[in-house]
Amino acid sequence: MGSIVVDVMLKPEILDPQGQAVGGALPRLGFDGFTDVRQGKRFVLTVDGDVTDEHLTAAREAAETLLSNPVIEDVVSVRVLDGSEDGSEDGAEGGADGKGESEDGEQ
């Protein structure tokens, strides 16, 4: 059973009130080093068996039609989720522009 990860973000020029609300809460908890917060969406699409090129093509199409609204959002990446579940990436296909995937730390 494989999965594809689709990341969607509001375009940089679009106001993000949710991100602002989160950004406003951070200093109250003592996190005062962050100058801006933007909130996005992650979708995990699961398929039977391994992820094929057809699955990825379909996922990209779904990302552009239903999962994002091109007027206000960008599809940041569409990529295969590595089996190791914590999101550590195998870099397979898609617009995995190496961006933002530094989430292998802590938690």
Binding site: I14, L15, P17, Q18, A21, L66, N69, V71, I72
Partner: protein, 231 residues
């Protein structure tokens, strides 16, 4: 004069819209999101509410409902369509109208009697108003900020497709951060109109801030009767 009112899962104001149609002399026809059937109506209203719980993005899932498979081509062919609040969000997600609606800039849900200026009184839904007329109807939403890129905004303004603008407060602010104070717009043909405020809540004495909402429904009824007479 038969006006369809679509009910999606999560629609709230479908009954109010149907009632407004009847109050203004039309016949309201219930349309169901799951049926790709417009029942031969002369016009369609997409009502307010929270279709599909506003999940994903407001209007994003409703856009793919079977009834939209029938409505989108009909609207492109000239069928009058009015989207109110969530209905406006469905119209932008369907790309029948440009731009998008995002969360209010102040992040609070608004519920106010809102003054608007009618900028375009020649659409299917505004012909009973005068250009420049001020009306007051209810505005109630959390995601009513109208956004579009500069080119689209210029195009809308240049072609007279801004139908309603918010009257701003003393500080020059509109109620939700909409670009250029836009409250409602139309397509190039003038048959599809979307706005955030709710005309259907201002049609009956004793309810709502005015009777200004009646003009939306009488416009479409008059126009459809005239086009039937000329057919």
């Amino acid at each position: 004069m038969r006006i369809g009112v679509v009910t999606f899962p999560g629609s709230l104001d479908d009954r109010d819209a149907a009632r407004a149609v009847r109050e203004c002399g039309g016949e309201a026809v219930a349309l169901w999101h799951g049926d790709a059937d417009l029942k031969g109506v002369d016009a369609v209203i997409l009502p307010g509410g929270f279709s599909y719980g506003d999940y994903l993005r407001c209007g994003a899932i409703a856009r793919f409902a079977p009834v939209m498979d029938a409505l989108v081509p009909a609207a492109k062919g000239g069928l009058p369509v009015l989207g109110i609040c969530n209905g406006f969000q469905v119209l932008t997600e369907s790309h029948l109208l440009p731009g998008a609606l995002i969360r209010n800039d102040h992040r609070k849900f608004n519920c106010v009697d809102q003054r608007l200026v009618v900028e375009n009184a020649s659409t299917a839904w505004t012909s009973d108003f005068e250009a420049g007329q001020e009306i007051t109807i209810v505005l109630k939403n959390g995601e009513g900020g109208y956004v579009a890129d500069e080119r689209t905004l210029d195009e809308l303004e240049g072609e007279g497709r801004v139908v309603f603008r918010y009257v701003t407060d003393a500080e020059g602010r509109n109620p939700n951060g909409s670009y250029r104070d836009i409250a409602g717009i139309t397509n190039a043909r003038g048959n599809v109109v979307g706005l955030m405020p709710h005309p259907e809540h201002a049609v009956e004495a004793g309810y709502g801030p005015s009777l200004d909402g009646r003009g939306f429904f009488t416009s479409i009824i008059t126009q459809t009767l005239e086009s039937a007479a000329n057919a």
